[in-house]
């Protein structure tokens, strides 16, 4: 099932749902004809869309709003924080092309602080699915709650079949005694690759998909600290405010520490190009990550990630 199919099915079955967009229709192209006037496109007005979503929520609706995530989480930040966050209204934010998924657009469109911004808002929940399968497994829960939520939309398909979504829980993909990858979103796929390479080099490797970043599954992290000698955080996000920061905060809270190596964008935007080239240039392919951890080159073939099918 695709994102659009799930949204169509959900919104058709219950008229409390309003589908909104700030003229970003990539994910909802076929919905206007199905939902009629419960589809509201406010034009290129992220702030007005979010404010209007708050108004609709006051009237008992659950708006699912769509925009490019850089404009949704930054242009409309104060509207999200003030009109959705303060009253804790059930507005569901779908941020499109976050992180590396905005591959060729340049820094104006690169949302690399969305996790940091959204998790800083009291009451706001933050989700980052690894792929479309992960996404459609978590959305029914996210859309059903009376709370505000931000979803870092990722509709890429992968071969991986995820476990069912359990509220607030991470997905423990594998456990290992040497190294455990902590990741979310698009980089999940590369961490699977990195894990494969490291296993071939004789390492015992774990992988945790932090599909829910807020609430955060602290026990999954603490278990990884106990099991594994080295933790690796991998995220297409600024180093500040994302998973690496969450890990640091959580370890401090539990008066513990660990050896952690972060893969993130430190004080920089990424070089615009097509996605596979971006990953390679920035050193985020599974093979590059494995080599960085090992400290030497490996000679197995690399699985090249496919470029996205969309441009926005």
């Amino acid at each position: 099932m695709t994102y659009e199919q799930l949204l169509t099915q959900t919104a058709t079955a219950d008229d409390k749902y309003i589908v909104m967009t700030a003229e970003n229709r990539a994910l909802v192209r076929n919905i206007p004809s199905v939902l009629g006037n419960r589809f509201v496109d406010t034009g290129i007005t992220e702030q007005t869309m979010v404010g209007a979503a708050a108004g609709l929520a006051l009237r008992g609706r659950v708006p699912v709003v769509h925009a490019l995530t850089s404009f949704l989480t930054m242009r409309a930040f104060e509207f999200i924080r003030t009109d959705v966050g303060i009253p804790s209204l059930p507005v569901k934010l779908s941020g499109f092309i976050p992180g590396f998924l905005s591959d060729g657009n340049g820094p104006t469109h690169q949302a690399l602080e969305d996790i940091s911004l959204m998790r800083g808002i009291p009451n706001m929940e933050v989700y980052a699915p690894a792929d479309e399968d992960d996404l459609v497994k978590m959305l029914p829960y996210i859309w059903s709650t009376p709370r505000p939520a931000y979803v870092r939309i990722n509709t890429r398909t992968t071969d991986y079949i995820h476990s069912d979504y359990e509220p607030g829980k991470a997905e423990i993909v594998a456990t290992g005694t040497d190294i455990t990858f902590l990741t979310y979103g698009l980089m999940f796929e590369q961490c699977l690759q990195a894990m494969k390479h490291l296993k071939q080099e004789g390492k015992s490797v774990g992988l945790i998909n932090f599909r829910s970043l807020k609430p955060f599954d602290e026990s999954a992290l603490l278990q990884a600290v106990a099991d594994s000698k080295l933790l690796i955080t991998v995220e297409d996000h600024f180093l500040t405010g994302g998973l690496y920061t969450i890990v640091a905060e959580t370890l401090l809270k539990h008066k513990t520490t660990a050896d952690v190596i972060p893969f993130a964008l430190a004080e920089k935007w990424f070089k615009p190009a097509l996605l596979p080239d971006v990953l390679k240039y920035e050193g985020f392919t599974g093979k590059q990550i494995a080599e960085e951890i090992l400290g030497y080159k490996i000679h197995t073939e690399e699985t090249v990630m496919q470029a996205p099918a969309f441009a926005e």
């Binding site: 509201v40 034009g43 404010g51 209007a52 108004g55 609709l56 006051l58 509207f79």
Partner: protein, 288 residues
């Protein structure tokens, strides 16, 4: 301006005078945005007394009308009106800025009758759009009034909202502009000129009337004529005077946020009821 209101509106003038006295009493022990509150009193008193289907028994009724105070810093005028309507106990205004109540410089939904918090300018036009769209979806007859300051119109989101309201033909949505000619520290026309304001809204697709916002006959005539034209955003520009009712602070750029002494408050209350102008010695500009 026209001060020759008919006796028909005497009861509103009486209420407005009491509301103004509530506002004045809140301008001490920490102070309040007195000037911008006094300019909005007459429109608010009219709306709650004569126009809006809002009363203590229907505050959660989905069929009620909505008033959204986007220029939230005039909340003393709203709370003063609530007291005169019986929505709020009068002695609670004495809790202004006290920790054990929720009465402070901007609206809080914990005060019965407040639909939504505000304070950050340019937000409630869009929230009002969401409410108005839902009412249309349900074929409701209720009206949504959004009160905006003129300085607030500097915010681009007010105009963004006008575009969207026009696109969705929200004739159940009424923007009331409290045109008191001042931004925080400056006259609007000296800083970011707004005129011709009626033309601006009309060019965005709205239908607009401009009235004297202190003349109940004109206020009544305008609101009774709504919708001026179906399928359009309704805009009423209410020309008002910042500090209205207190000649000692009227139209003064330096009387925006005021924190007066108890003695000055006494003098201002007398001035409100027709005594000579107060002699004000406290800091003339307490900028927030």
């Amino acid at each position: 301006m026209n001060l020759h209101t008919t006796t028909t509106f005497k009861h509103l003038e009486d209420i407005a005078l009491k509301v103004r006295s509530h506002v004045v009493k809140m301008a001490t022990n920490g102070g309040c945005f007195i000037g911008a509150s006094l300019s909005a009193v007459d429109v608010l008193v009219y709306l709650y007394t004569e126009y809006l289907n809002i009363h203590s028994a229907n505050l959660n009724d989905p069929e009620r009308d909505y008033l959204l105070l986007s220029k939230g810093h005039d909340v003393p005028a709203l709370y003063g009106t609530f007291v005169e309507l019986g929505l709020l106990e009068g002695d609670r205004l004495g809790n202004h800025l006290l920790l054990d109540d929720h009465i402070y410089w901007h609206p809080n939904v914990k005060i019965k009758g407040v639909e939504f918090h505000s304070g950050s300018l340019g937000h409630l036009p869009s929230v009002a759009i969401g409410i108005a769209i839902d009412i249309k979806l349900r074929n409701g007859k209720n009206k949504v009034v959004c009160v905006l300051g003129d300085g607030e119109l500097n915010e681009g989101t007010c105009w963004e909202a006008a575009l969207v309201a026009n696109a969705y033909k929200l004739d159940n949505l009424i923007f009331v502009i409290d045109r008191n000619q001042f931004q925080a520290n400056m006259a609007t026309e000296d800083l970011i000129p707004l005129e011709p304001l009626k033309d601006k809204f009309e060019s965005f697709g709205a239908v607009v009337r401009r009235i004297d916002g202190h003349d109940f006959a004109q206020i009544d005539e305008a609101f009774s004529a709504l919708p001026f034209e179906e399928g359009k955003l309704q805009v009423i520009i209410a020309d008002t005077i910042r500090g209205k009712g207190l000649p000692s602070i009227e139209r003064r750029a330096d009387r925006w946020f005021c924190n007066f002494t108890t003695d000055e408050i006494e003098q201002l209350l007398q001035e409100l009821y027709g005594e000579p102008q107060a002699f004000l010695t406290s800091n003339t500009l307490v900028v927030r």
